[in-house]
């Protein structure tokens, strides 16, 4: 082999090596889906798919008849998520608008790292504070004996979703061309009117994408809801009732279940449903963000 050919061979080998690492992301994502599917399928030898999704009673260890309905968990997850978004959307958008439009740059330089610290607090610590800090307060305000309920979970999930919503909303507000702002002011609008009627509508797709990414985080969050919502199996009757989300149910039961039983496989089936839900939400958010970026360019 000549020296040149040797060099070429070496270069393409190196390139191939990096290529394999690049493709790894696809392998991991497909691998997660494939292995979850592979571990879920045996569950449906015994469970009817209709029962799985439409029944609200989950009692795999019942001595009489094991029941595998995840409807109340899905409703619980959606409830906690909806509650979280009801808090996080107005507050998050408010902070983002403040940072992009009102704050002096010095204040922005201080507030942004602080919000990064909030994002860095481990979820188990947030859940712990849900028990010790928010639980008693909620119990007092609403006059209930136990503060571990859907409201508590919603507040904590809102806190977890806020950094995502704030940073992506702020980015999209900042991406609105300055000429929009100037044009609006030149027409006699106040800064507030400009913000509400020009900038937010112009950045809307990015803002909505930030809400969806926050929603994805809230659906998939485990430790906070596991610790702070009480985990009752019953179908939730309102925001003051204790709920058990899909994530919490997996976390509670996977540790105790004997391997390779229907119950074990059913937990992976819940995981698969969870994966598909978050995948869909994130994918839609991604498409919205992408479209918006292309339009900007």
């Amino acid at each position: 082999m000549t020296k040149l050919a040797q060099r070429r061979f070496k270069e393409s080998a190196i390139r191939a090596f990096f290529f394999i690492n690049g493709v790894l992301a696809i392998l991991v994502l497909v691998g997660i889906f494939a292995l979850l599917l592979y571990s879920s399928v045996p569950a449906f030898r015994e469970i009817h798919i209709k029962e799985f999704f439409m029944s609200a009673s989950w009692d795999p260890t019942s001595p009489v008849k094991a029941e595998y309905g995840i409807l109340s968990m899905i409703v619980s997850t959606l409830m906690a998520t909806a509650g979280a978004l009801a808090i996080a959307i107005p507050v998050g958008l408010g902070v983002a608008a403040y940072l992009s439009d009102v704050a002096h740059w010095k204040i922005r330089e201080i507030v942004k790292p602080i919000i990064e610290i909030l994002a860095g607090i481990p979820s188990v610590v947030v859940g712990f504070l849900g028990i010790t800090l928010f639980g008693p307060i909620i119990a007092k305000i609403f006059g209930v004996t136990n503060g571990l309920n859907a409201i508590n979970g919603s507040i904590l999930l809102a806190i977890m979703a806020l950094p995502t919503i704030i940073s992506i909303s702020e980015d999209s507000l900042n991406a609105v061309p300055y000429s929009y702002y100037e044009g609006s002011l030149a027409l006699g609008a106040s800064r507030w009117q400009t913000l509400v009627r020009v900038k937010i509508p112009a950045a809307l797709s990015g803002i909505i994408a930030s809400f969806m990414l926050g929603m994805g985080r809230a659906i998939g969050e485990t430790m906070t809801v596991l610790m702070a919502t009480g985990n009752a199996r019953a179908f939730p009757h309102g925001f003051l009732s204790s709920i058990r989300t899909m994530t919490a149910n997996i976390a509670i039961e996977l540790g105790e279940v004997p391997y390779f039983t229907t119950h074990y496989y059913a937990l992976f089936a819940i995981g698969l449903v969870l994966f598909l839900m978050t995948f869909l939400v994130n994918l839609v958010a991604d498409i919205i963000l992408h479209k918006y970026q292309e339009r900007e360019q």
């Binding site: 060099r7 990096f18 790894l24 696809i26 507030v111 481990p122 610590v125 010790t132 596991l226 991604d286």
Partner: protein
């Protein structure tokens, strides 16, 4: 006049949102700092728990989190950097590249407990690593991967193109130009992003619950195949699973404080590296 009143009220409302978020964070840090500070002592940091975890310290949990973070780093740092080098230096704008990027973005949105389930199937069962430091660390490594790839790519993007072109013009091959001109410039930035990712992984609980973290171990792990205690899982146990939760509350607060210091400490290291880097670039 009315316009001004509305604007004043509107901006005031935005400011309230900011104060609210800052108040929540301060409340968090104050609560944990004040109640956890009392629990911290030399014994708490260097001794194992004893008497049914109602006394003693959290040394095994600190060591466990430290060890598992090393395994996480061993997987996530090289793979993340290699993938980022491919995406930024080699990949062209093809459909495959777009799909890779889409997968990376989607991976960062996969719930942590789903990574836990994946770890149970792949590492614990299929590869037969059992519930161990190795399984838990690899699971966390995969979870960290999308963040390390993204952060490393950001760092590579800051390298001026003239660096690459200069090397190529002198007859260097592509790899030589990357190795001698691109990587030395980008490396500190890549490291910063990677450490931030590792800090987040160190605080995760759901992925390690079923892949290796143990309720209580009387000894330190001796090999990668052993189970381990970890700070986040220990806090979960002390907060919800212990037989006498109220009695061990101060210990739980202490654990929370140490965990936060561990995670925020890693963040600080990353920030310091970034700061030094910026200073060097300017000067």
């Amino acid at each position: 006049m009315k316009k001004k009143v509305i604007q004043f009220a509107g901006f005031f409302a935005l400011r309230v949102c900011v104060y609210l978020v800052l108040a929540v964070l301060l409340l968090f840090l104050y609560d944990i700092g004040s109640k956890g500070g009392g629990a911290i002592s030399w014994e708490f940091l260097t001794k194992a728990p004893h008497r049914g975890m109602t006394e003693g310290g959290i040394f095994p949990a600190i060591m466990g989190t430290f060890l598992v973070t090393i395994v996480t780093a061993a997987l996530a740092i090289p793979l993340g950097m290699f993938a980022a080098i491919y995406l930024n230096e080699y990949a062209k704008q093809t459909n495959l590249t777009r799909i890779i990027r889409l997968c990376i973005r989607n991976l960062s949105g996969v719930p942590s407990i789903v990574y836990g389930l994946f770890g149970v199937i792949l590492f614990v069962n299929i590869l037969k690593f059992g519930t161990s430091i190795l399984s838990a660390g690899l699971t966390l490594g995969l979870l960290t991967l999308p963040w390390t790839i993204t952060a490393s790519e950001e760092a590579l993007k800051t390298v001026p193109n003239s660096y690459r072109e200069g090397a190529l013009a002198l007859g260097a091959t592509k790899w030589q130009s990357i190795r001698t001109n691109v990587l030395p410039y980008a490396f500190p930035g890549m490291l910063t992003g990677t450490i931030l990712g590792l800090a987040r992984a160190a605080g995760e609980t759901a992925p390690i619950m079923f892949t290796g973290a143990a309720f209580y171990l009387p000894f330190l792990p001796k090999s990668l195949k052993d189970q381990f205690m970890a700070l986040p899982y220990h806090l979960y146990i002390m907060a919800t699973q212990h037989h006498d939760i109220l009695k061990v509350r101060p210990l739980a607060y202490g654990t929370a404080l140490v965990l936060i210091c561990f995670v925020l400490g890693m963040n600080m290291i990353a920030v310091v590296i970034r700061y030094r880097l910026r200073k060097k670039r300017r000067g």
